[in-house]
């Protein structure tokens, strides 16, 4: 691991509805390169908001968010940042319904300036990585929930991001499919030394992480980060 953190959130505040809803109230989080960090907490505590801010899908009201040396508050081209530095997996796969699995994985690659053949070859390699080669021509409606999430993970990895963010990736899956997704994420961390942030309210899921950050009312319960915790997944 290098000295500089991969993700650094310092005193981040995010409100909605003219300040009436305070989703993040001075959130702090540091994630080192190659770490798998789980962010836990009850519904509405600001977990997803934190993830969306790190993914640059939204902007904080105040505070500092640095990801892979990019200061998001001052980043001019957030599209470029999203395309090249961060991959995101949503709770609901959010795949494009008219495209096949292999086409969905290609979608982010349009921003890389690679040709259609190269896009297709890369997408196939990624589907192989998530063990879905045989379903590359299937549309999302023809895939199971777990398979859709695996396609979504392959898509998140499409542009070789520095950080992979997963928002309740097993939230809509049964325990078996959820376990497969978790195994895959852990394997990605191990094999690719990917930095992962995993938002969950499931202690079993969080137990697979290197560290857990507990959140409550828009803050991490411990300053910056927690000590490593391991919980066996049943």
């Amino acid at each position: 691991m290098s000295d500089a953190p991969m993700i650094e959130c310092l005193d981040v505040v995010k409100t909605y509805e003219d300040g009436r809803i305070r989703a993040l109230a001075g959130m702090n989080l540091v994630v080192e390169p190659g770490e798998l960090v789980a962010v836990m907490g009850p519904s509405g505590c600001g977990k997803s908001t934190l993830l969306h801010l790190v993914a640059a899908l939204d902007r904080p009201d105040s505070g500092i968010i640095r990801v892979a040396h990019h200061d998001l508050a001052h980043e001019r081209n957030l599209d470029h940042y999203r395309a090249r530095h961060v991959g995101i997996v949503f709770q609901l796969h959010n795949l494009l319904p008219t495209l096949t699995a292999v086409e969905n994985v290609q979608v982010p690659m349009f921003e890389l300036g690679v040709g259609p053949r190269e896009r297709r070859a890369r997408a196939r390699r990624l589907l192989e990585l998530v063990e879905l080669s045989e379903r590359e021509r299937s549309r999302p409606a023809q895939l199971s929930g777990g398979e859709r999430q695996r396609v979504a993970i392959a898509r998140a990895l499409a542009n070789g991001p520095s950080v992979l963010l997963a928002d309740e990736p097993t939230g809509s899956l049964d325990s078996k499919a959820g376990g497969t997704i978790l195994d895959l994420l852990v394997r990605l961390r191990d094999e690719r030394e990917a930095t992962l942030v995993l938002v969950t309210h499931d202690a079993n899921v969080a137990g697979r992480a290197d560290r857990i950050a507990h959140m409550l009312d828009g803050r991490a319960s411990e300053p910056v980060s927690l000590a490593p915790t391991r919980v066996a997944v049943s």
């Binding site: 999203r82 395309a83 090249r84 991959g87 959010n94 008219t98 982010p108």
Partner: protein, 369 residues
Amino acid sequence: MSFLSLVFRNLFRQRMRTTLTVVGISVGITIVVALGAVTGGMKQTAAAVIRQGGADFMVAQRGSADFSFSTVSEDEWAQVASFPGVERARGVLIYITRYGSNPFFPLLGMRPDELAVSPPEVVQGRLPRGADEVILGESAATDNDLAPGDVVEIDHRPLDVVGIFRADNVFYSSGAYAPLATVREIARKPDVVTAVYVKAAPGVDPAALAAKIEDELPTLTTVASASEYGKVDQGIEIMDALELAVSILAVVLGAIAVMNTMIMAVFERTREFGILRAVGWRGSRIMRLVLTEALALCLVAAVVGIAFGLLAVQGVLMIETIAHFLEPTYTVGVFVRGVVIAVSVGLVGALYPAYRAVRLSPMEALRHE
């Protein structure tokens, strides 16, 4: 998967809506193409009328609403002929009447000696010389099954067919030449011609000569090209105005149809645009996606509209009465206009939906159900 395949995939999602939009736009383009072909034919006919017998320009009555109403007196004709620099000034009386199934049969009256100076291409028989002789255009002869030796009766006046001539324009081909005096009697227009066709002497500038004639004979005007034909006939101007009005209507109505389709598509796919933004697509790429979808839609409509425009004109030409005087001209400009209208419709109609798609924040779009 290419960008274009993504575009077409999106268009095929709502097949019925896409088809109806294409049909709506193509109707406008069909009318524009058909009108363009007809107006082009009229202009070509006008050009042929103006340059009849190798003239540099024609002289007709100023302010005439329709060319066939123009009258130039014998005195005016003589004055034109006497202008310095005029090599030849041939008077022609054009009388439009019904003959056979042609309601616009042009009977052209010329002095036989003047007709002989620069005659039409005679393919059978000879030019008329006597008062009761006529030479028919090929179409007129074919349509009425006539040949030299037959007799035609025009406005109750029997005339001997002495020849057949070939013309590359439907106006002349479906008409006839007869001596000027005979046509004057039939038309009951003594001592006038419709127009005088002027050939400038070698070394004389036709434009300068025409300007001089207009200066000195203010009741007359000169026409040297189809673009000036409106000086003596407002038919083409009316058709041009109609074509412009239909083109504008086609753009406006087409743009509304495209805007409606694309706004609905953008609204329905809001969440997808959020996903695309989340995976890093630039706003400009999303704008390009929406605009390309609209343009693809409109280009398909252009192809359909042009094809139906051609079919419509050919369908109209199957009506015998119309085929006698209508000769459509399919210039490149007619098709280019159809494509330009389609592209304009696409761009105008899709700009706002594309702007809306780009303005959506990724989070707002992802929350959309």
